[in-house]
């Protein structure tokens, strides 16, 4: 029971963090069809900006201003780089943003050094919110989950219930018609890209204070956010949320369960034989827990090629 509750809680919170980072990508990828490989770099920039600002002012200023700075950088990239290559198709956008990843990484190292910086949450946020079976549960984890939840609600309402959302969706689905109706489509794209970057920046500012803020943080999350978006279905916010939670919970349970292929064989009485084989057969699930998301992606793509909530299903 303890294992079940603790693992679920850990998994859900980690899933919320994944959602927080991938929400902006869902917006950019889903609404604009831009493969932004540099999305996790925005996440990293958000953390570093928040680190600098929290040193100059305080934690909350960092949390609010850092996403705005990242949004400005994002809009600059959209306006002066991505828009130029957009006509040449996805491959060019991918290559451009792929290059940006390296540039951002080395730039960060130039300015902040090669080592993790000391970006900490303020002391008054540093307490245990409850005690679970003798283990303190840090409040900040819950805080991350709450921010992600808030982000989901705001985005969902904005996109489906307001006029702004309607224009954005129209600009994505039928750009020519939207333009004919008098909407400034390039401006809409600029705004969406900025908003997506800001979301990544915000998640960096929040999560960077919990996980270390270091020059590799973009690399660490870069691939997994794509997995979330693909599993969830392109452009589907709800899909991203479900995919994030699934990945979080599965990874969490994988650590605690020492299952291996050998234990599967022992169910049919071949356990001794399988254990004698060694190698991959006896490899416990916990040792490959970070591959769980990719396994999930494989299965989802086989069963539902457009993702869990993808519109093409």
């Amino acid at each position: 029971m303890e294992f079940l509750i603790v693992s679920t809680l850990n998994g859900v919170i980690y899933g919320m963090l994944l959602f927080m980072v991938s929400a902006g990508l869902t917006l950019i990828f889903g609404m604009m069809g831009v493969l932004n490989f540099a999305h996790a770099s925005f996440y990293m920039l958000g953390a570093y900006f928040a680190y600098t600002l929290s040193g100059l002012f305080n934690f909350w200023v960092g949390l609010i201003v850092a996403p705005l700075l990242v949004a400005i950088i994002g809009m600059f990239i959209e306006r002066y780089m991505l828009r130029r290559v957009h006509a040449h198709g996805h491959a060019h956008e991918l290559l451009l943003t792929f290059g940006l990843v390296f540039i951002f990484e080395e730039l960060i190292k130039l300015f902040y050094g090669d080592f993790p910086v000391n970006y900490q949450r303020p002391d008054y946020l540093n307490f245990a919110i409850f005690n679970l079976f003798g283990t303190d549960y840090p409040f900040y984890r819950v805080f991350i989950g709450l921010v992600a939840l808030l982000m989901f609600i705001v985005l969902f309402v904005l996109l489906t219930r307001t006029r702004v959302g309607m224009v954005v969706r129209a600009a994505e689905r039928l750009p020519d018609t939207a333009r004919a109706l008098g909407h400034n489509v390039p401006m809409v794209f600029l705004g969406v890209f900025g908003a997506g970057a800001a979301l990544a920046g915000l998640s960096g500012a929040v999560a960077g204070a919990f996980f270390p803020t270091n020059p590799n943080m973009a690399l660490e999350l870069g691939v997994i956010v794509f997995v979330v978006v693909v599993v969830g279905g392109l452009g589907s916010l709800a899909g991203s949320l479900i995919a994030s939670l699934l990945i979080g919970v599965f990874s969490s349970f994988a650590v605690g369960l020492d299952w291996s292929l050998a234990s599967l064989f022992s169910l049919i009485g071949l356990g001794d034989w399988a254990n004698s084989l060694g190698g991959l057969v006896t490899m416990p699930l916990s040792s490959i827990s970070a591959t769980v998301p990719f396994l999930l992606m494989l299965i989802v793509l086989l069963v539902r090629p457009a993702g869990l909530m993808g519109s093409k299903n």
């Binding site: 993790p116 979080g248 994988a254």
Partner: protein
């Protein structure tokens, strides 16, 4: 006669004449991860190695010429290292220094071995200052490879010994390591020493390398075994996140680590780090102040993490250079290698030398504890590494592996 033949002849003639006119300078290639995720380690190694060479050059260089050092960026992967090795060999490097990553170390040492088989008159020395895999001193050992860093059992034994003497090891030990050669070496060392230091390995986990963001599931698993101490060879994020997650859960567990002294660790872990142990090959607290201050003056910071190891290794090499003399003639790399085998170097904690059987350096190991009130606090915090005990190299070192069959030059 076509013109190109004349030109070619002229170039050949120049090539033959040149060494007679000018002494051959010693060329050192630093093949390191100077971009990509491993920069933090690679840059430190390059800085420390260049510091030692600069000192030698200030004292007149070698063979009548300043030693030439060139940095090659392997970008953090083995294919990059292989390309850069060919470049360095083409540039005429006599010595290669490398350290970040055992995988790259494996690539470089094999490249050097093959090069030396094909070019017996023109061999290259590999100075390893950071790759800790046992295999490099075992199956992959060869005469021209020198290993100045330790290995998993080399560090684990002193770590366990001191933690047990201090009463912080306890009876229940948890092993958590990264799932590759280094982590497996660590796990084996932790299991092998259970009887010697009277503890029980309650659980052992191998996890993926630097891919896990959230360690709380691992903490839940650790907690369920109720260990007294956690021994881990984790480095970088894998150590930092693990310590933070354990600290957040408020579990009272002592960590025995190998890489706690990586910059940024203590600051990021905060008070959680206090009381944990680290086994390293040097501790700045024990070193001569003049030396560390001179280092700071030249590089802008005190020697940290992998820098002392590099200073020791390249220092021994520089000491060995004093024993050979080519009178401004051609450099005989084998002679330098033989001199390195017979050199004893004082690294500030005691003498160090190279074991002939597998070219593993015999270095004392310092076991330190993260504590306040030290001379050199790190990362802008109050905390630093308080030395608890220095274990002599002979007492800590593992026996040479049978798999190492070294062919010596005739």
């Amino acid at each position: 006669m076509p013109r190109w033949i004349t030109t070619a002849a002229a170039i050949t003639a120049l090539g033959v004449i040149a060494p007679a006119v000018q002494a051959e300078p010693l060329k050192i290639a630093i093949i390191e991860s100077l971009s990509g995720p491993q920069t933090s380690t690679g840059r430190l190694i390059a800085t420390a190695a260049e510091y030692v060479i600069d000192q030698t050059n200030a004292n007149g260089g070698f063979n009548g010429e300043p030693i030439q050092v060139k940095e090659y960026d392997n970008a953090g992967d083995t294919s990059g290292a292989a390309t850069k090795f060919r470049e360095a060999a083409a540039d005429g490097a006599h010595v290669i220094i490398q350290g970040a990553s055992s995988a790259i170390g494996g690539q470089v040492t094999e490249d050097v071995r093959k090069h030396n088989i094909r070019n017996p008159d023109n061999p290259i020395i590999y100075i390893n200052v950071g790759a800790e895999a046992m295999e490099l001193r075992g199956k992959k050992c060869h005469f021209h490879a020198f290993h100045f860093t330790t290995t998993a059992p080399y560090r684990t034994v002193p770590l366990m010994q001191v933690m047990s003497e201090q009463g912080d090891l306890g009876k229940r030990v948890y092993s958590i390591n990264q799932n590759y050669s280094w982590g497996r070496d660590m796990e084996a060392a932790i299991v092998d020493n259970a009887d010697r230091f009277d503890y029980q390995v309650v659980d052992k986990v191998l996890h993926e390398v630097n891919r896990i963001q959230d360690f709380s599931p691992f903490v839940a698993r650790i907690k369920s075994e109720n260990p007294d101490s956690v021994i881990t060879g984790n480095w970088s994020n894998d150590l930092l996140l693990l310590m933070k997650a354990v600290g957040d859960a408020n579990l009272d567990i002592t960590f025995g680590t190998i890489f706690m002294d990586q910059p940024g660790n203590v600051a990021n872990a905060g008070d959680v780090a206090e009381g944990h142990y680290v086994a390293h090959s040097s501790n700045i607290e024990l070193l001569d102040e003049a030396g560390t201050e001179a280092y700071k003056k030249a590089t802008g910071h005190y020697p940290v993490f992998i820098e002392p190891t590099t200073l020791n290794g390249v220092g021994l090499f520089a000491e060995a250079l004093k024993k050979v003399n080519f009178d401004g003639g051609d450099i005989d790399v084998n002679e330098i290698a033989l001199a390195m085998e017979n050199t004893t170097f004082d690294n500030g904690l005691g003498g160090m030398h190279v074991r002939k059987a597998d070219h593993q350096a015999v270095i004392p190991i310092v076991v330190s504890q993260v504590a306040s009130g030290v001379k050199y606090p790190v990362d802008g915090t109050e905390l630093g590494f308080k030395p608890i005990k220095t274990v002599a190299g002979e007492d800590a070192i593992y026996p040479a592996q049978d798999s190492c069959r070294m062919r010596r030059p005739k």
